[in-house]
């Protein structure tokens, strides 16, 4: 009987397409919005993925990676003297202004790396040599910076080209790939000393300290030792990551906006598929009644309806997921909009779509279970 149940479903082309379309839309909306949301959250932690260190030492009041409060230069040495710390290096991170050839200005994220070790270096260096960044006025820029800062030029910026960074000439000695910042700023790397020259002078210039625990020390123990000895806040990389994510959850409307859209996807999917499936059952009620009269049990009819509901669910989900994968590939290739597709996302969406199908089927099942087979004798 199950193949006949499928033929009944596929035979009603309009409703079948409506059901599949509704579930495809719901899948796409929920998955795509979740993907963009996760991508956006990941952008909030771009400092962590672009500098990569086991311990992050910041001012005690700092709650997340994008709100750094300057430290004193001597704080690096204080951290270095803490037992349990293998090494510690200073990093300068601030937003600076780059001048374009056409006279416009663009903000960039200037990162000053420790002169000696260059710890916190770009994740992927595409062109040039890392060591060249120690040359006077040298910077390594990411691909986004090349695109953004090339505006008004005859050809894109390349190795050896210069641009103005806070009225000072910066020469490009390397091009790297880096995760994009939450605010969309390109990353520009230099040495710590040169970064201080590019940036306007302030009383305290040290943004944060990257450190690593000494052999035999766990991350948590080393972080606790730093906090106890210096009064600064020491995060492990994982804790800093989640502290940043949760900060945006608690302090911005972004999650609410995305969750609303995701909920909307669920509701729209539910309404379209629920209503369409109910209409499908309602229109076939007489035939289902005839099947009941001919001896089909409630159990058999329920299984037929569930099969119909879940088949459209599988197809709708598959199409929706394919569209999202296409969107995701484009987004990742272009670098925007933000997109992240952890394996849990398609699994969760699949469960949501199947729950939509189950709820839709329940509406029809209630009706079918209640009908009396004698309905077929009524005019």
């Amino acid at each position: 009987m199950y193949h006949l149940a499928l033929k009944m479903l596929l035979g009603d082309r309009a409703k079948y397409l409506m059901l599949v379309g509704g579930l495809t839309f719901a899948t796409m909306l929920m998955t795509q919005q979740c993907g963009v949301f996760f991508g956006l959250l990941k952008w909030t932690t771009s400092h962590l993925s672009n500098m990569r260190a086991k311990l992050w030492v910041v001012d005690r009041k700092v709650e997340q990676a994008n709100e750094l409060k300057a430290l004193r230069d001597t704080d690096v040495n204080r951290v270095r003297t803490v037992p349990g710390v293998a090494w510690a290096v200073p990093v300068y991170v601030t937003v600076q202004s780059a001048k374009l050839a056409d006279g416009n200005f663009k903000p960039v994220m200037l990162v000053g790396l420790d002169n000696a070790t260059l710890i916190g270096q770009p994740p992927v260096l595409l062109r040039g040599k890392l060591e060249s960044v120690r040359l006077p006025n040298s910077v390594i820029v990411d691909e986004l910076a090349v695109r953004r800062l090339s505006s008004g030029r005859a050809k894109p910026l390349d190795l050896g080209d210069t641009f103005e960074l806070n009225d000072k000439e910066a020469r490009i000695v390397g091009i790297c790939r880096a995760d994009k910042h939450f605010f969309g700023y390109p990353y520009v790397y230099s040495t710590y000393t040169q970064a201080l020259q590019f940036a306007p002078k302030q009383r305290k210039m040290l943004s944060l300290i990257l450190a690593e625990p000494a052999p035999g020390w766990s991350l948590d123990d080393a972080a606790a030792a730093i906090e106890a000895a210096t009064g600064m806040k020491a995060y492990t990389e994982e804790k800093f990551f989640w502290a940043t994510i949760w900060w945006y959850f608690k302090n911005t409307g972004i999650p609410i906006a995305f969750i609303s859209t995701i909920a909307l996807g669920f509701i729209v999917g539910m309404v379209i598929s629920g209503q369409t499936f109910y209409a499908f059952v309602h229109e076939n009620l007489r035939h289902l009644g005839a099947l009941k009269a001919m001896g089909a049990s409630n159990g058999l009819l329920v299984r037929m309806l569930l099969l119909q509901a879940f088949i459209v669910g599988f197809i709708g989900y598959g199409l929706g997921a394919l569209l999202v994968v296409g969107f995701g590939r484009t987004a990742v290739a272009r670098g925007e909009p933000p997109f992240m597709f952890p394996w849990q996302l398609p699994v969760a969406t699949f469960c949501l779509v199947m729950s939509i199908c189950a709820l839709s089927a329940v509406l029809g099942i209630r009706k079918v279970v209640k009908i009396e087979p004698a309905i077929v004798f009524r005019g």
Partner: protein, 244 residues
């Protein structure tokens, strides 16, 4: 209680004092009022009467598709009044074939698939069901139309498909609700020929509810109903005088 019929005498259906009331209180309508009724094996019996006399309700009760308030009902020896709902469903699946006024063929399935339905409900494999369905299609003269959808067929052809569906699982009781009302005279006659042939099986009984006086002549016996009761049973074949 088993849903399998026992070896019984010539009686196929035996209804004793069956009553059925729809609704309660002032709006209650008594559709059957202590009906006594019999149908024999190997006969084509018609139930006739004015609209609202209870003939379709009686047919629904006999088919096991409608519960009744009181009385007893034996169908091929099975006491339906004592069976549980699941056993009645099982009984219908095995022993009852249905023919409806509006055919009730599923429009999205082909004719063969429609005919297969009772067999598939009974758990018969798809291959065996389709083979039997094809054989039945030939018997009703529509062997070449098996892969078409019912909506492409005329009313008479659709009713022939419905008859094939009613016979395919070889039921002992065939229930027909106004099988010729929607058909012209010649087509109706052809349908009645098929039903009469089906009723010639000595282990089978065909019960037809109809308003269509053109087909009364096909009945072996004719039961007249009025106000929820059986008024009269005409035993003679051929022309019935229902003018009184």
């Amino acid at each position: 209680m088993s849903a399998t019929p026992t070896n019984s005498p010539a009686l196929a259906v035996h209804v004793r004092g069956v009553s059925k009331t729809f609704g309660t209180g002032e709006t209650a309508v008594t559709a059957l009022n202590g009906v006594d009724f019999t149908a024999r094996q190997g006969e084509l019996l018609m139930i006739v009467g004015p609209s609202g006399c209870g003939k379709t309700t009686l047919l629904s009760v006999i088919a096991g598709t409608l519960n009744f308030d009181c009385g007893e009902l034996d169908v091929f020896g099975s006491p339906l009044h004592r069976l549980k709902p699941r056993e009645i469903t099982e009984f219908r699946k095995r022993h009852v074939g249905f023919i409806f006024q509006a055919f009730n063929l599923i429009p999205t399935l082909t004719c063969i698939e429609n005919i297969c339905v009772p067999l598939l409900i009974g758990g018969v494999s798809r291959r065996v069901a389709e083979r039997k369905a094809l054989a039945l299609l030939d018997e009703v003269g529509l062997g070449a139309r098996g892969h078409e959808r019912p909506t492409n067929l005329s009313g008479g052809q659709q009713q022939r498909i419905a008859i094939a569906r009613a016979l395919v699982h070889e039921p002992r009781l065939i229930i027909c609700d106004e099988p010729t009302s929607a058909l012209d005279k010649d087509t109706g006659a052809h349908i009645m020929d098929l039903l009469r042939t089906a009723a010639r099986n000595p282990n089978r009984c065909v019960i037809v509810v109809t308003h269509d006086s053109r087909v009364f002549k096909y009945a072996d016996r004719l039961t007249e109903m009025e106000d929820g009761r059986v008024q009269r049973v005409h035993d003679q074949g051929g022309n019935y005088d229902l003018s009184e």
